[in-house]
Symmetry: C2
Subunit: 222 residues, 2 copies
């Protein structure tokens, strides 16, 4: 039986290299490629022909791990995606599974779980980290992430909200009237079933719509 062709997608190159070293210490696993972004992974995917793609959810740049998972599955249905992430947030895990991931392992899990997930994925078996499988399934049952219900414009406004801007500032940034922004904010809160913009910001961050690192603090010296 041939070795499991594995690809690593993680923007943390130190971690990526370490994972490669770890996985290759097992004779049944072969690391045939690695990428630091979803874009890079997709470019090279057809050249690698992997059985398993180990995907980090949290990545900088335009494409996050969820979107990357979706496209990997579309481009190469044979390749199974195992999500390996530090994320403890159920919402994003659920989104990843919806996007076509077959396995999910947290970085703080026992390494044996990770190995099992990779080997399982190669056989088409789903291995979910037991630490969160329960709550994730609950999430799946009770409906998907509400962000996806947001229109593009509403996501724009939500991103602006996450920068701590007022309606007026958002109006200027997006070149619309303050009234329009009010409408969007109202619709966002309504769709997300929240009541304050502060909650919307936390929600945006949890969903990965914006990254904390992307936010330059305004209005302070420094």
């Amino acid at each position: 039986m041939s070795r499991i062709r594995t690809v690593l997608v993680d923007d943390h190159r130190v971690v990526q290299t370490a994972l490669r070293s770890y996985l290759e210490s097992f004779p049944d696993i072969e690391v045939v490629g690695a990428a630091v972004s979803g874009e890079e992974a997709l470019e090279k995917l057809e050249g690698w022909l992997p059985d398993v793609v180990v995907m980090d959810l949290r990545m900088p740049g335009g494409m996050d791990g969820i979107e990357a998972t979706r496209r990997v599955r579309a481009l190469s249905p044979h390749s199974q995606v195992v999500v390996l992430t530090a994320d403890t947030d159920d919402a994003r895990v659920v989104a990843a599974l919806r996007a076509g991931a077959i396995g999910y392992v947290r970085k703080d899990s026992d390494p044996e779980v990770f190995l099992t997930a990779v080997r399982g994925a190669a056989r088409g078996q789903s291995v979910l980290d037991p630490a969160v499988a329960g709550s994730v399934l609950q999430d799946l049952l009770r409906g998907g992430p509400l962000v996806e219900e947001l229109s593009e414009r509403e996501k724009d406004v939500l991103r602006q909200l996450a920068h701590g801007r007022t309606n007026r500032e958002i109006a200027q940034a997006l070149h619309v009237s303050e009234e329009t922004v009010k409408t969007h904010v109202g619709n966002i809160l309504s769709k997300l079933q929240l009541s304050h913009r502060t909650q919307a910001v936390v929600y945006a961050l949890k969903q990965g719509l914006v990254s904390l690192e992307d936010i330059e603090m305004e209005g302070r010296g420094g």
Copy 2:
């Protein structure tokens, strides 16, 4: 010359195991121990007698990597601490260096940088990730993180803010009047030189005062 005695402190056990595999592939490095928390590392430190402690900043539990670094240095001055973290936020890096770390490497750096930092630390040399060394130095010059200027009570309020609560809700949670909360919020914004509570929330998250994972979304159907 004997091998560099190294200890890994990272709550991500998958990553920790992978790093061990990676480091041990080099003949001059020996991994003599590993811990998933600052507490565990300190307990076993004197048994390990490491030359280098590789420390992740972001860890759950009572002690974070910064406090752990401080105590490692106090308990075993021979052991040099290299911070290895996904954190892209300067503030916490500066805090870690203040706490006595000699090296700092981001997880998305070139693995070579990490190796250099470990080997340098063993010789007492400081290796700072060039990707951020500049901005970190600026931070050091312009003074420490503003959070430290906040009183305990103000941090309590800031944590509440991060949950998207209104002044009234915070008042109930902390068992004080709404007026008191208003005072605290005002002082927080003033001290942090911000103008909206939403910005304060982002600030709290960036500083690690609260973790995104700690925040249970309220006010939505779930």
